[in-house]
């Protein structure tokens, strides 16, 4: 029998002469993850984009091409811009306060003291609670009549004080901020405490011997040392604050009126209560687009992926 398996064999070998049989293993093992990540990472972007060019509402499943109408409407939508403003207000107030309080607390617990670990373990508990439960808890605490907060204020004032925390316009923001700061200062505290403990003691001690004061040592030595970790904590918290939803949902539901409506709450209302499907898609696309740019820039800047 004459056949030419040899030639055939050689051609297959020469074609893949540099590859071992399990070369594709690397792709097999990322396939399931990539598939699932596309569901939340790519599909929403594309689908939002498509729907945002249509005119779908609750009453009217109108898939005809709407051009940029929905996007133009974004600019005229005062409520959207207000919700962005609300979100930014909460972010720019809460983030520095959490950072400062966290840093101060980290300094307080940096030195050894008996029972330190117990204090730390208890103080970090708020961070692991579900944000919606945290909001509910503070709603109970802020209750005008049966909540303990008004009671304490009454004691301090010496007469009965009734503050309507989640209704009175000038009190809703303090209420939300107190809850946010309560829940997330321990997060900053824990991370900064770990970062501070990792600062090389010989550096600070040498500076102390040279006569540098606390603040000088902090800004010249400690801060640069903890900055990489601090930057990541700020990124995580900043992004979280921009997404804020659960706490406000439980505490004020965006009220009174639309006073505490954040971007997430407003998007929810448009999409799931007023069923402005196409318009909500435009908002979603805008948010994801903007956030992607900011987040990817920050991640690259910090070299997180290296």
């Amino acid at each position: 029998m004459t056949y030419a398996p040899r030639a055939k064999h050689e051609s297959t070998v020469s074609r893949q002469s540099t590859r071992m049989p399990d070369h594709n293993f690397r792709y097999w093992i990322i396939a399931p993850s990539v598939f699932l990540l596309l569901l939340i990472g790519l599909f929403p972007l594309i689908y939002s984009l498509v729907v945002s060019f249509q005119q779908i509402t609750m009453t009217d499943y109108d898939t005809s091409f709407a051009g940029l109408d929905n996007y133009l409407h974004l600019f005229e939508d005062a409520r959207l811009w207000q919700s962005i403003a609300h979100t930014l207000v909460i972010t720019v107030i809460a983030l520095p306060l959490e950072l400062l309080f966290g840093l101060a607390m980290a300094h307080l617990f940096l030195e050894k003291m008996p029972g330190r670990q117990i204090f730390i373990s208890l103080i970090v508990l708020p961070t692991v609670i579900s944000p919606v439960v945290a909001g509910a808890t503070w709603r109970l605490l802020f209750d005008q009549r049966y909540g303990p907060i008004n009671q304490v204020i009454s004691w301090l004032a010496g007469h009965e004080v009734v503050l309507l925390w989640n209704i009175t316009p000038h009190l809703v923001y303090p209420a939300i901020l107190i809850c946010e700061i309560w829940q997330w200062t321990p997060f900053m505290f824990l991370i900064l405490l770990a970062a501070l403990s990792n600062v090389d003691k010989s550096l600070t001690e040498a500076a102390e011997l040279d006569g540098a004061g606390f603040w000088r040592i902090f800004f010249k030595i400690v801060l640069p040392a903890i900055w990489p970790v601090m930057a990541i904590a700020i990124l995580i918290r900043g992004v979280d604050l921009f997404k804020i939803f659960d706490v406000i949902w439980a505490l004020t539901s965006g009220g009174p009126g639309t006073m505490t409506e954040t971007v997430s709450i407003y998007t929810y209302v448009q999409g799931f209560q007023q069923f402005e499907t196409s318009y909500t898609a435009a908002i979603a696309f805008l948010i994801v687009g903007l956030m992607s740019m900011v987040v990817i820039w920050a991640i690259r800047r910090m070299g997180l992926a290296k």
Partner: protein, 361 residues
């Protein structure tokens, strides 16, 4: 027992060309040492033989079979790593048995093989321990045991002794040599340590910059280095290199050093060129005795540094602008600043081209 044939092997990592056309034949049962400075490609070559790096160009044949596309586990090789690569969550027995379990070997066979290897290495008492409870030397024995039980056709060692202290290293070196004599398996051993290379190898393969500079039996390379790099790499302290101009003295040639000294040159068919580098090993630069050979060169120099090591003493002197070391057995050689008379036999000298570095024979 298998032979290994490597031809035209190339490897690049990104922009870096790590192996630039390696051709190498390793006869069955031989102990081959790949040696060279760090970054010379010796480890990459070993890892490519193991199948841990893919072949880009060229061929690797083990026992006549092209293994280019075979996975490491299909090549029937055993490998000992620098950091021992012991699994911290398995005890010594299971560490040694790991490869056998992967091949689904029956339990009784696993048991007998592990005990055989443990006895051979004197670690029978440690089989129940975890790696973290072992000393460095014991861990290295376990790592070797794991290779032995495999009964592989080829043993690869990747700098196995570089994490051990000097004394243990000497001990384990002897152990590995004995292992090779007992098992007779083909072994390829990577090291940057020229003493390990000299003591262990049947054949040394000296690499630099992704190419093989020279290969051969240790003493052959030591005495007849192909170039200045090889000459300088093997031997400790390093060979002394002295640069000089070639001058014509009638029918013969001589070398003129910068300090005015002249050294006669042997006859050479091709002539000597403009200038030349003379290489002489420290142990061949001896304190002068009454003349014994016609080829002897005598030099009188000032002692600069004296470094006694106990058995031998290193003396630093200046010859023709080069710091040279002479190695003597005697203790009483004088102090720095004093004069000393040294001599060497020209037959021990090696000459190199100052530009290409190639040895001139």
């Amino acid at each position: 027992m298998s032979d290994v044939k490597i031809s035209g092997l190339h490897k690049t990592f990104g922009q870096v060309h790590v192996l630039k056309g390696i051709d190498l034949e390793i006869p069955a049962g031989e102990f081959t040492v790949l040696v060279g400075p760090s970054g010379c490609g010796k480890s990459t070559l070993l890892r490519t033989i193991a199948g841990l790096e893919e072949v880009e160009q060229g061929n690797i044949l083990i026992a006549g079979v092209n293994v280019n596309t075979l996975r490491p586990r299909d090549r029937n090789i055993a490998m000992v790593f620098q950091n021992y690569a012991l699994y911290p969550y398995l005890n010594v027995f299971e560490n040694i048995a790991f490869g056998l379990r992967a091949r689904k070997m029956p339990d009784s066979e696993v048991r007998s093989r592990v005990h055989f290897a443990a006895e051979m290495l004197g670690i029978t008492g440690l089989l129940d321990r975890l790696p973290r409870e072992l000393s460095g030397g014991q861990r290295q024995r376990v790592a070797i045991g794991r290779a032995i039980v495999r009964k592989a056709q080829l043993f690869l060692f990747d700098e196995p002794l570089s994490n051990l202290d000097a004394q243990l290293r000497d001990e384990m070196r002897g152990e590995i040599k004995r292992l090779h004599q007992d098992l007779g398996i083909t072994m390829i051993y990577v090291t940057h340590d020229q003493i390990e290379a000299m003591t262990l190898a049947d054949k040394i393969v000296l690499m630099r910059g992704g190419v093989i500079e020279q290969m051969g039996a240790p003493l052959t390379i030591y005495e007849r280095p192909a170039n200045r790099f090889v000459a300088g790499f093997l031997g400790s302290p390093k060979m002394n290199f002295i640069l000089g101009d070639v001058i014509n003295r009638g029918s013969s040639h001589a070398m003129l050093l910068t300090d005015g000294e002249t050294i006669p040159l042997p006859q050479r068919s091709g002539g000597w060129g403009q200038s030349i580098v003379l290489g002489i090993r420290p142990q061949h630069l001896e304190r002068s005795e009454p003349i014994t050979s016609v080829n002897e060169v005598r030099l009188k120099r000032t002692i600069e540094i004296v470094q006694p090591t106990g058995s031998r003493t290193y003396i630093t002197i200046n010859i023709g602008g080069a710091q040279c070391i002479a190695e003597t057995e005697s203790m009483e050689i004088g102090r720095p600043g004093e004069l000393i008379e040294l001599s060497f036999d020209l037959s021990h000298a090696v000459f190199f081209d100052p530009i290409s570095g190639a040895a001139l024979v």
